[in-house]
Amino acid sequence: MQHAERLAVTEPRGGLGVALAATLRRDLMLLMRRRSEVMNPLVFFALVITLFPLGISPDAELLAIVAPGLLWVAALLATLLSLDSLFRADFEDGCLEQLLLSPQPLALLVMAKVAVHWLLTGLPLALMAPLLGITLALPAGSYGILSLSLALGTASLSLIGAIGAALTVGLARGGVLLSLLVLPLYVPVLIFGTGAVQAALLGDALAAHLAILGALLAGALMLAPWAIAASLRISING
């Protein structure tokens, strides 16, 4: 009697919620184990920001003018850099195929993976940016908006970039092609992200910029998962 009861308790639970939680937990764990992969985009971000004064000029006034743009472009490039490994490891060891075979809708499972990517790439970049802003003489009053715009923006960048990553994961030299595919699609986020920071400095239309960033994120949340899922199926079958 007791033996049977114990067996009944260990029956596996199913359902979408369980699948999502499991995917989230798994990806988080895997990424936390590969600490260097998480650090790479952040170190890249800092390095690129270091290069700009060296390449342009140490003049604080000049740097202050270009700082919002430089910070945003560097963060964007760091995100791009981290996209290649979004699906690659799972593709290579066959886990991606298992994901495709799962009864849960792929679009939603994929969202869990992208969420982890943002939590461990975009969010840290957003939090780190103000520190680098100091080195670029970013004027006061914009640091909060810098982080906020980057947090909102990198979420969109993760979603849009994941489409490109899904399309190129099966290709031998997909890295450069990924940049070509994804950068044109990044332009609106970049424009409104830097626009928000500059609006905070000039004191006009800040709400409009943030609202548009939010709208872009909403659009990406609604449409990107389906594109990512379709692209993954193509890459696996190709």
């Binding site: 595919l181 424009i191 409104f192």
Partner: protein
Amino acid sequence: MWAFINKLRSPKWFYAISARLQPWFWAAATLLIVVGTVWGLAFAPADYQQGNSFRIIYVHVPAAFLAQSIFVSMAVAAVVFMVWKIKIADMAAAVMAPLGAAMTFIALFSGAVWGVPTWGTWWMWDARLTSMLILLFLYFGVIALRGAFASRDSGSRAASVLAMVGVINIPIIKYSVEWWHTLHQPATFTVTGRVAMPMDMWAPLLLMVLGFYSFFIALTLMRTRNEILRRESRKRWVRDLAGGEH
């Protein structure tokens, strides 16, 4: 309607019907472009402010229209291919991309060159040129992605997804680039100017636009037929056809 769509599933039918349609579009393209060119270059009055450099409009604007229209056509073809599995649609999409890129380049080059006498500079980050440049990269991306896959079908489907993603983004990109431009340069008039043109200035422009569209259709028909020959080369009707050709 459905009968037509089912006919479209047959490359052989399309090959035959496009042979009949082609000459009309070539004729229309030639006529419209020649008349438009002569009218625009030699007979239309010079612009009051820009002088004769204004005549670049007669290639710049048609090319710009086509650059965007072709991307949209390509995306529509991609949808038709992915949803209804009609091979012809994918063949058409494949051949449209290079022409679209060429049109974008023409728009960029003519726009940039126009900037020299007008603005004194070889390149201007104005809204239209910047959007065109991004569009050119989108075209390159679709072309490169299609060719990167070992399996033709995978390449077709990947390029279709990218075309669909791209077409949704194009209005967003245009809008954001325009916003960006007005933020940084308040009062400019664009390269073409929003001044109302007298009829003997816009009539040749209309002819050129229609001529370019006819050219696009004619060339797409021609190159899709080539693509049919290439992909259906194993079929009996294609082999018979080749036997009868020069």
